[in-house]
């Protein structure tokens, strides 16, 4: 059957695309919209590398069909920095060396931002459980958790 | 005369002899002399042998100097993060 014609908002921009029913939002972002910041690590919702915000809700874009997102608001890693200025999380991930290979970093950052928007003062345990769906094989999570908590503290000070 | 010791399976190519006293001034010379003594060992020397001269391991170097009082060990190369055999 014919492809679906979808209109949605990605990082504030109106986008239009065509997709097959079986194509996931991740396929659409990476292959159709050429936004390769969201990564595919497992395509089964187990690694979190494809994390995006869908209408303000943190989801794995590999578990969303492209044809489901008509009229909806999507935010990806590409929209995290505000113009010239990095998001405080991005800045602190750099300062704390909270990334090594960097493949999980976009997903971890999108998920961390979602956490801080709901909880400006998370405990270490809350950060660890919130990020349990974001696998990182390089860092052992230590510097990631430190960077998130340090960012939260700084943002609270404003 | 440098003291040369074979580690691991190389001794099987020298009829079990594991220690030699050889007067050589470089790894290249050492390999040549061993190959003269035991032709069968030649191929293995080109094929992934590391040399430890006075405690310092050289993964692959024909030109490292060997002093008369040096202690030299021949051991398998360590490929490390790469494929190990």
């Amino acid at each position: 059957m014919a492809k679906h014609h979808i209109q949605a908002q990605v990082n504030g921009d109106e986008v239009e695309f065509l997709c097959e029913t079986e194509e996931t939002l991740l396929d659409v972002l990476r292959d159709t919209l050429n936004m390769t910041g969201s990564k595919e690590g497992c395509s089964s919702g187990d690694c979190g590398a494809c994390s995006v915000m869908l209408d303000g809700r943190l989801v794995c874009s590999c578990l969303v069909l492209g044809c489901e997102v008509g009229g909806r608001r999507i935010e990806t890693i590409e929209g995290m920095a505000q113009g010239e200025k990095l998001h405080p999380l991005q800045q602190r991930f750099l300062e704390h060396a909270a990334l090594q290979c960097g493949i999980c970093t976009p997903g971890v950052l999108v998920a961390s931002k979602a956490l801080l928007e709901r909880n400006s003062n998370p405990t270490e345990t809350e950060v660890r459980y919130w990020l349990a769906g974001n696998l990182c094989r390089c860092t052992g999570y230590d510097k990631i958790v430190t960077a998130v908590m340090d960012t939260a503290a700084a943002m609270r000070k404003g | 005369m440098a003291r040369v010791v074979l580690v691991g399976n190389l001794a099987q190519l020298t009829g079990g002899v594991t220690e030699f006293e050889l007067s050589v001034t470089s790894v290249k010379q050492l390999f040549e002399q061993l190959t003269e003594l035991y032709p069968a060992i030649g191929r293995h020397l080109d094929d992934g042998i590391a040399v430890a001269i006075d405690g310092q391991i050289y993964q692959d170097s024909l030109l490292e100097p060997i002093r008369p009082d040096s202690e030299v060990f021949l051991l398998p190369q360590i490929a490390g993060g790469s494929t190990s055999r």
Partner: protein, 762 residues
């Protein structure tokens, strides 16, 4: 301006926590990894894989697939020339291409579930998927064998009828699944054990575990009609990829250009080729670019995990704790083709200790599993886990503090290593002392909690390295390295370049060059890239400084001894200082053309003098006696870095290795059914640690300078995964009173053991 100096090299940037030059791209999603490359007109490639663990391939009919609209090429074994059975240097790695070509694409037989038997290139992923279903492969299914010990039994299903055990005299007349027997001997074992008051012998089993990099293998390849080829791929060594691909496709090395993408983790698993030769062969046929990306299931089923193994260790000690003799027998799974890391396993087993009489024998065994690939300190964690467990048991039996016992027997400068040569300056004692000084070591524990300690060793390597430094017109510096940056390499190398040339860190732009831009580089592995790369940069910088001094002499009509290079400028000395002003690198850059042309240097070295790195880990855990689940409560790593070029990324290596070790010890394993098929080929049931599984990982950077490196650097990447298995097993013993000799120590195993002792009550 220099704050510190090691081995005569002043440092102001080295040793500081700079922001990595490639960092912004990685936090904004801009960095391009393996699957992020695309070319106009590209096709999508897909591999058809064997559903059987062991089967003769009777026939492959691709006609239906080829007839499907949108299919542009189909390849099988027929598209790859056979290779002779000989070990050939591929770059620096020795490979038996007879096996490499068969692992890339099955020939006579499929040797493991997931073994590639054909591949297609089509206009879309969906078409490629349909095409694979249309390929008709006739298999003659054969009996399979998964476990190495079973594979060693006479009468076990034979994988290769031309595989005769190497290393046994006389050479066997019958083929077997044992590829190799290796031994190291030292002293007189019998006599050694005579001196022992206490002898402990135990057998251990470890499960195969996967490197678990989050980025699946990916490659994009294009071959032109004239035989020139380009490959973009995620690899730890693009020069190695080039060598393999040229060999397998019969291309000139010079005609193959490989660009390494940003790499999403490797840990040794991306040192070999899987998709690259297939993508090239498909592109050659289709005359269009071909992109291939593995699914996570393919990564687990068809790329290399590390060996599972059976290890028997026997150690003898005097009643006052001196180790007098030790033997070990190692049986390592190689997967479907020979080449397990049993060799380093044998050499590392007793390396941390000063033992007079040692005998270790190892077997390299093939079975119907994916061919193993290197995984962080290949082979070492397995044999050292067994040894560290026995060492702990000796400490208990002799009632000696486990750190004191290790200290008493620790290898130190001048100790004859179990594998032969004497150690130079090493830091094992320092790491033991560091751990003992932590507050962690003396913190109180409750019931069902236990503390474990273990040490670990890895050789580290150097190897062929080529790096270029170019001074640009404005005085900024371009740094080109040829080893993929897998965890902060560019930050470390840029720091060294900045200090060597006396330019600000942010004026150095480091990139990873393709295979056309530099001389041969061995891969990122063996904990070598920062060690060797920094040595090559020192060499390249030396050339630049000499050139600038020579130019200054000409401009100032001075003699060489009247000038010197320091703090980023050529300075006139003595009387000359009256009439000449110092010239900075930027000053020279402005007049480069007038004074002889572009300014630059190329470091071309085969780095020697890699210093071993020792580490000691300390872990607390708690066991739930009713469910057998262990929770890691606290963790401390102390390791000798020689000199930490970038402390934050060195800590990162310690922390990441420790957590990989936690996964290996507690939950990770390949689970096979009786049908020889992998049952947990996904992140759901292959259980790597998640953020909520682990605590903060405290680190202690021990620095015992490596005298053979200009900055005293030792490789740090691999040693951190060696101690965790033993440390956690020892902590489990202290928590439960039970010695676990089989990994992973997963809840069902632990609860069973507790029940047998009647301990499964809170």
């Amino acid at each position: 301006m220099a704050e510190t100096t090691t081995n005569g090299h002043a440092q102001s940037v080295v040793g500081t926590r700079t922001v990595r030059p490639d960092g912004v791209d990685k936090v904004t999603g801009r960095a391009r990894f393996g699957a992020d490359f695309n070319l106009p007109g590209q096709l999508i490639g897909r591999v058809l894989r064997s559903p059987h663990p062991h089967a003769r391939i009777v026939s492959i009919d691709t006609s239906k697939a080829e007839a499907l609209p949108g299919v542009k090429a189909v390849i099988t074994r027929a598209d790859f020339a056979d290779q002779p059975s000989e070990f050939i240097p591929a770059g620096e790695m020795m490979m038996n291409y007879k096996d490499v070509v068969r692992n890339v694409m099955a020939r006579e037989k499929a040797l493991y579930e997931g073994h590639a038997v054909a591949a297609v290139a089509a206009t879309s992923a969906a078409v490629a998927r349909r095409a694979c279903k249309l390929i008709d492969v006739q298999y003659e299914v054969l009996p399979h064998v998964i476990d190495a010990v079973e594979a060693m039994q006479p009468g076990a299903p034979l994988l290769h009828d031309d595989l005769f055990t190497v290393g046994v005299e006389p050479r066997p007349d019958k083929p077997s699944n044992v590829a190799k027997k290796i031994e190291i001997k030292q002293g007189d074992i019998e006599a050694g054990f005579q001196k022992a008051d206490l002898v402990i012998e135990r057998e251990f089993k470890t499960a195969p575990v996967h490197q678990g990099y989050i980025e699946p293998h990916a490659a994009l390849a294009t071959v032109s009609e004239d035989g020139t080829a380009e490959v973009w791929c995620s690899t730890q060594g693009h020069f190695i990829v080039r060598a393999h691909c040229a060999r397998l496709l019969g291309l000139d090395i010079g005609k193959v250009r490989v660009t390494a993408s940003e790499i999403g983790g490797g840990f040794g698993g991306k040192t070999v080729v899987y998709l690259e030769p297939l993508a090239l062969a498909l592109s050659k046929k289709a005359k269009r670019p071909v992109k291939m990306v593995m699914s996570r299931e393919e990564v687990f089923k068809a790329s290399g995990p590390t060996s599972g193994a059976t290890v028997r260790v026997k150690m003898g000690a005097t009643k006052d704790g001196k180790f007098v003799a030790a033997t070990a027998e190692l049986k390592y799974q190689a997967g479907a083709f020979q080449g397990s890391p049993v060799q380093p396993g044998v050499m590392c087993a007793f390396a941390p200790y000063d033992i007079e009489h040692v005998y270790v024998v190892g077997y390299d065994v093939v079975s119907n599993r994916p061919k193993v690939a290197a995984y962080r300190a290949p082979g070492a964690p397995i044999s050292e886990y067994a040894v560290e467990s026995v060492v702990d048991e000796i400490a208990k039996k002799l009632d000696i503090d486990p750190i004191d016992l290790r200290m008493q027997n620790a290898a130190r400068e001048g100790t004859k290593a179990a594998y032969g040569p004497k150690f130079g300056p090493i830091g094992l004692e320092e790491t033991l002392n560091a751990v003992k000084k932590t507050e962690h070591w003396n913190a109180p524990l409750r019931k069902w909690q236990g503390r474990g300690v273990a040490s670990g060793f890895w050789f580290n390597i150097g190897g062929e390295t080529c790096v270029s430094l170019t001074v640009n017109e404005d005085g900024t510096v371009s740094l080109v390295a040829g080893t993929p940056d897998i965890g902060g390499l560019r930050a470390s190398l840029a720091a060294v370049a900045a200090d060597e040339l006396g330019v600000p860190f942010d004026k150095v732009r480091p990139i990873i060059g393709d295979t056309g831009s530099l001389g041969f580089n061995f891969l990122t592995g063996g904990s070598r890239s920062a060690f060797s790369g920094s040595m090559a940069i020192v060499e390249a910088a030396k050339q630049i400084k000499a050139d600038l001094c020579a130019r200054a002499c000409k401009m100032w009509e001075a003699k060489p001894e009247q000038v010197e290079f320091s703090d980023g400028a050529v300075r006139p000395l003595g009387a000359l200082a009256e009439k000449a002003k110092p010239m900075t690198i930027a000053d020279f850059a402005r007049v480069a053309g007038k004074t002889g042309g572009p300014i630059g240097g190329v470091g071309r070295i085969n780095a020697q003098g890699a210093g071993p790195s020792f580490g000691t880990h300390l872990v607390d855990l708690e066991v739930d006696p009713e469910t057998g689940r262990a929770t890691i409560l606290r963790y401390t790593v102390a390791q000798d870095a020689g000199r930490a070029l970038h402390p934050a990324y060195v800590e990162g290596q310690y922390q990441g290795g420790a957590v990989q070790g936690i996964g290996w010890a507690l939950n990770e394993e390949y689970i096979y059914g009786a049908d020889g098929k992998l049952q947990n080929a996904g992140f759901l049931d292959y259980r790597m640690p998640v953020a909520s599984d682990v605590p903060m990982i405290d680190t202690v950077l021990v620095e015992v300078a490596n005298p053979k490196h200009p900055y005293g650097v030792r490789g740090v990447g691999e040693t951190p995964i060696v101690p965790p298995l033993g440390a956690i097993a020892n902590a489990m013993e202290n928590a439960t009173g039970i010695r676990f000799t089989e990994l992973p120590m997963s809840p069902p195993k632990v609860l069973k053991a507790l029940k047998e002792k009647g301990l499964n009550k809170a």
